[in-house]
Structures are given as C-alpha cells and as structure tokens.
C-alpha cells in the first residue's frame, strides 16, 4: 500500500496532522493492548474495549479478576484487618505524639541541664535554710523550711517553662 495514497472523500473530510497523530497513537495503543494516557484517547480505547469485551468474552480471565478483587475486598473488611486499621487510626497517632513529646522533652532537658556553661539558676544549697534561727511557729522547723524552699524552687522552675 502506497504511503502517499490520497485520502478517500467517502471517509469524511481530510484529517489534520493533529488528528492523524492522535489516530496513530490510538492505533498503536490498541495494538499493544495498553491504555493511552491522553484522556480523550483513553476514552476511545474504552469504547474499543467495550466492543471487544462484548464480542469476545473471556470467562477465565473475568473469573480470575473477580476472585482477586473479591478476596481483596473481603480481606480488607475482615476483623483482623479491622483491628489493624483501628490500631493504625487510633493508637498510632497517640504513639507518634508520645514519641515526639519524649524527644522534645529530651532535647528540652538537655538545654536546661546544669552544665559548667549553663549553671543552675536556682541554688539548691539548703545551708542558709538550716542555719536560720528557729521560730515559735510549728512550720518554722528546719525541715519544714527546707520543704518550703524546695517547693518554691520547684515552682519557679515550672513557671520558667520547664515541665519537670
């Protein structure tokens, strides 16, 4: 068949170059039994597929596909799968959040940890408390004052943003 054979007017108006290119791509895709990526060609390949599926049913292929899809759907809805999905949806986010908090806490404690460069901002030395004169009030005993001082130091730390 000659490549430059003229277009037959019975087949409609002469095709544009663009139509020729699209028709060739569709013809090649049908030959290769592949699905074109272009939406319009994909649509036309679907029309060709409708004709083929209607005229040439393949019961064996259809059965294999149906069994595979059915198995997948049932497996996805099985109780074990549902438990896995529940774990993924409910537990995983909390576990992830807890991990993030732990890591952040670790980083935070590093920055607050007393080091030679970063000395503790509040003295925990209780000598001054213990050496203070005792009063009459029951809560003025050295141990009570020590407790008060520790509580106060802890509260200060909390108010500065530490969570320890």
């Amino acid at each position: 068949m000659s490549a430059d054979m003229p277009w037959n007017p019975e087949d409609g108006p002469p095709p544009t170059d663009e139509e020729r290119a699209a028709a060739e791509a569709l013809g090649a895709a049908l030959d290769a039994r592949s699905v074109p990526s272009d939406p319009d060609l994909r649509d036309l390949a679907g029309v060709a597929g409708r004709i083929t599926a209607t005229a040439h049913p393949n019961a064996e292929r259809d059965r294999a596909t149906a069994v595979r899809v059915t198995d997948g759907v049932l497996a996805a809805s099985s109780p074990a799968s549902a438990r896995r999905q529940w774990l993924v949806r409910r537990v995983l986010p909390f576990a992830a959040a807890a991990s993030v908090l732990l890591v952040a806490g670790g980083l935070g404690s590093r920055s607050f940890a007393p080091t030679p460069r970063n000395p503790p901002s509040i003295s925990r030395n209780a000598d001054d408390v213990l050496r203070a004169p005792m009063g009459d009030h029951p809560t003025s005993s050295p141990t009570a004052r020590l407790d008060d001082a520790r509580l106060s130091a802890w509260r200060d730390l909390m108010l500065r943003g530490g969570t320890r």
């Binding site: 020729r20 599926a53 209607t54």
Partner: protein
Amino acid sequence: MVLNAPAAEEKALVEAAQAGDAAALRMLLERFSQPLYGAVILPRIGIAADAEDILRETLLRAMDRLGTFQWGGAGIFPWLRQIAIHQVIDHVRRVQRRTRLEERVERQAADVMPLHHAGAEDLLIDQQERALALKTMGAAMDVLNERYRQAVTLRLLEERPREECASTMGVTVGNFDVILHRALAALRKAYGVR
C-alpha cells in the same frame, strides 16, 4: 411464595450474610462478582483497570448496604447489578463530559430488570447480560456509516491486524487509523444514548 431449591438456598445465604455470617457473605460475593465484572461492568467500561475499580466499589457498597436489601422474586443479583450500573454511571460522569439527556437515557437503560430469577444458574445470568450488551452494541453500530462500521468490524470484532484491515479497505495504515479513530468517536456518541 414457594421457592425452588436454588432460590431458597440463595435466600438463606442472603439472610445469613445479613445476620453477619462472613462465610455466607463470601459465598454470595464470589458467586456474583464474576457476572458483575465480565457481563455488567467491563462491557460498559472497556478498560480492565477501571472495571476492577468499579467492581471493588460495587462490592464494598453492597457490603455496606446489605442490611437494607429486601428479598424479592429476582434474588440479589439485580440489586447488585443496579449498584454496579450506578457505579459505572458515576465513573463515566467523572471521566467524560456527558449531557444530562445522555445520562438520563443511560439511567433508564440501566433500570431494565434482568429476566433471570433468584437462584438462576451463573451461565444464564451471564448469557442474559451478554445478550443485552450485544443488543446495545448492535444498536450503536447501526448508526455508523458503512466504512466506519467496516473498520470496527475488521479491527475489533474480527481482531485483524491494522495492516490487514487497511489493505482490505484499500487505504494506508495511517488512513485506516484515522477512520477507526473517527468510527470510535461516533460509537462513543452512539453508546452514550443507549
């Protein structure tokens, strides 16, 4: 109403599945998924990957709504088929630009009830669905001009190579591609209203 044995068996399976019996559900889906795929969905979609997705959606939707199904004389297949057809229409609407008129006519075509009854042999279901698909295809082919119909017949019905099709029609392969391209575009339009 007295049911024959296969219909009674199908009804019992449906009721067990509705009551939460996983094995009964599996038997029902395994039995009907093949005619749904091969005779209802694929002949209306044409692309295997899309047809698989639609079958998956159909089965999931059927499982979700199984509790709402009420037993009728035709059994569960028409109900499943109706879900599948609506999934097909939704899919087509997503990927194509269809007019409201075309959609309405398609929905009317989808509402045609199958002739088979509850407990029918799979083969009977398959044959009746395929007869419907063939009728639709024949009606769509009838609106094509003779040359376009010849191109579709040679390439898709007789599955001949492009070169042979071109030679038979007395055109180049490039021109044959154009004729087939135009024929499929005309068929798409014809299918749209059937």
